[in-house]
């Protein structure tokens, strides 16, 4: 497989195309990073390395850099960008949680505080709020979106974890309502994720299925939603998302009347999916729960 990827890399027009043509595994536990490194070596300059740890100071991050220097002194700093989706509605709210926990028995694990910068975008991709906060070593940071920007509705949330190492600094999103909470992790910036699919779409009448697509890229995203039953294609719908924008749709909005169309329904996004990411939420109206799964 590696030989095939290395052979195809010099002529592949993009990292995503390389994954698609070679069939490189690009799921949650896949090899996107390694494939991208192969591609980067074969096509110097072709890969957007902006999601990699970026050395500071950069002019545009000067304020962040100064805050960090005050907090931790002159340790070399790296920047880890992560992204997710928030919602702030009366029936469903969002809390972002990240932590910076000790790691016993590891000598080179640094115990300096980290800096966390959170940026919110609205559904159309416009930046609407920004917050920077020091996360002391050993602590957990839980940020309520409603406190950060009460008028926010839903959209892309980007946060930068500024510390020499990422360590435990992954972030999880909690979407909660009265009597229910659900959680899943963010996406590390820039991971190519391949296909996004709900392998078995629940069709029970008291369940609303919501598909969430987020485009963290600077370019528009285009694809098609495809509905299949038992592998047989039933319907296609074009889909487009502006840069930094997000879409929160029910399955009924994407494919009206989908419940009547089959027993074994699968929905997926068909296209060069690049670095977008998707979640789905199942809302049970009878027992009043929301449940999330990343795709």
């Amino acid at each position: 497989m590696r030989d095939r990827i290395e052979a195809a890399a010099p002529t592949a027009p993009s990292f995503e195309a390389l994954c698609k043509t070679t069939g490189a595994a690009v799921t949650c536990f896949g090899c996107a990073l390694e494939v991208e490194e192969i591609y980067g070596k074969a096509r110097p300059g072709a890969v957007d390395w902006s999601h990699k740890p970026t050395l500071l100071p950069a002019k545009k991050l000067l304020g962040l850099y100064r805050s960090m220097c005050r907090a931790i002194g002159s340790v070399p700093i790296a920047l880890y960008r992560q992204a997710g989706w928030y919602v702030n509605r009366p029936e469903l709210r969002t809390r972002l949680v990240t932590c910076h926990l000790p790691l016993p028995g590891v000598k080179d694990y640094l115990e300096e505080p980290a800096l966390v910068e959170i940026v919110l975008h609205d559904p159309d991709g416009r930046r609407i709020a920004r917050k920077t906060q020091v996360l002391p070593f050993g602590h957990t940071l839980a940020v309520e979106i409603a406190d950060l920007f009460p008028a926010a509705t839903h959209g892309l949330v980007v946060w930068r974890f500024v510390q020499p190492q990422l360590g435990s600094g992954r972030s999880y999103l909690q979407w909660y309502s009265d009597g229910s909470a659900t959680s899943t992790h963010e996406k590390l910036w820039g991971k190519g994720e391949g296909y996004f699919a709900i392998p078995k779409v629940p069709t029970e009448p008291d369940l609303d299925i919501h598909w969430i697509t987020v485009n963290p890229m600077r370019k528009p995203f285009r694809a098609e939603f495809v509905l299949t039953d038992g592998g047989r294609e039933l319907e296609r719908k074009p889909f487009e998302l502006a840069p930094r924008a997000s879409q929160f749709q029910t399955m009924d909005e994407i494919f009206p009347g989908f419940r009547a169309k089959g027993e074994n329904l699968t929905v997926y996004l068909d296209g060069d999916n690049g670095r977008i990411f998707c979640y789905y939420l199942v809302h049970n109206r009878t027992i009043k729960t929301w449940q999330a799964q990343h795709l």
Binding site: Y80, Y109, H185, G231, N284
Partner: protein, 255 residues
């Protein structure tokens, strides 16, 4: 063409929690766009069922099947074939291309999604079965994993589901941290071999809720496994018994 045995053994099995009884139903979903790398291929495999030492393992042979076609396997069908009435334990899902060996440096499993639902609607999880080995994350250690956002607030509480796919028991410890860094740790426990165990954190760590409530009911989990295990956090409503969240822990990243 490579012979069938080396091809099959080159692919890693995925592991998942399966439940089938009067109250629960489980289904395995082999869906082309998620599962297959090459739709021209065919796949085959086996499903092994374990409940630690309680019963001997049982094996179900998957029919050879085109990667371009869906295959849905209700666990009920598997149990009927192997002669079990009910099941609550570890599914070891071997699914492999019939002709191609994966590159050992790449993820070497085919992604099977498993959904488990209770008949009363209070329990529903849908997630991919994943291997216990072969990930490419750069991590500090395979022994510790974290989960930011443990919740013990109002009716909501958090459980940890630990899948031990190994052939031997694995010592484990679970530590809870509140937002200010105060912590409590469980006693050392054992994850039984070839098993799935649901740990109720409020029972395993006395004082857990009081610790987290000092900082708004939110904190983090750090799990220590002597050998790397697959583990998930589940949110449960204590009053209704409803489960509304199920996601995996995260390693300490070295990047």
């Amino acid at each position: 063409m490579a012979s069938a045995a080396p091809v099959a053994s080159a692919w890693a099995p995925g592991y998942a929690w399966g439940r089938e009884s009067a109250d629960f139903k489980t289904r395995l979903n082999f869906v082309p766009r998620v599962f297959a790398r090459d739709e021209e291929e065919t796949f085959s495999g086996e499903i092994h069922l374990y409940t630690g030492h309680a019963i001997a393992s049982k094996k179900f042979i998957l029919p050879e099947h085109s990667c371009a076609k869906e295959l849905r396997v209700p666990l009920r069908e598997v149990l009927d074939k192997v002669g079990l009435e009910s099941f609550d334990g570890l599914l070891e899902i071997h699914a492999h291309s019939t002709t191609k060996v994966p590159d050992p440096r790449l993820a070497k499993f085919l992604e099977v999604w498993v959904d488990v639902a209770s008949r009363d609607g209070k329990f529903y999880i849908s997630y991919p079965a994943v291997p216990n080995r072969g990930q490419f994350f750069k991590v500090f250690t395979g022994q510790y994993q974290v989960w930011p956002g443990i919740l013990m607030k109002g009716p909501m509480t958090s459980d940890v589901v630990i899948i031990n796919a190994n052939r031997k028991p694995v010592p484990i410890r679970l530590a809870l941290f509140n937002a200010d860094g105060e912590s409590l740790e469980s006693l050392e426990m054992e994850a039984p071999f070839r098993s799935v165990v649901q740990h109720r954190l409020e029972e395993e760590i006395p004082g857990a809720r009081a610790l987290l409530e000092k900082t708004g009911g939110v904190g983090s989990l750090r799990a220590w496994f002597k050998f790397k295990l697959n583990a998930y956090v589940m949110f449960r409503n204590r009053e209704t018994g409803t489960v509304s969240s199920f996601d995996h822990l995260s390693p300490y990243f070295r990047r």
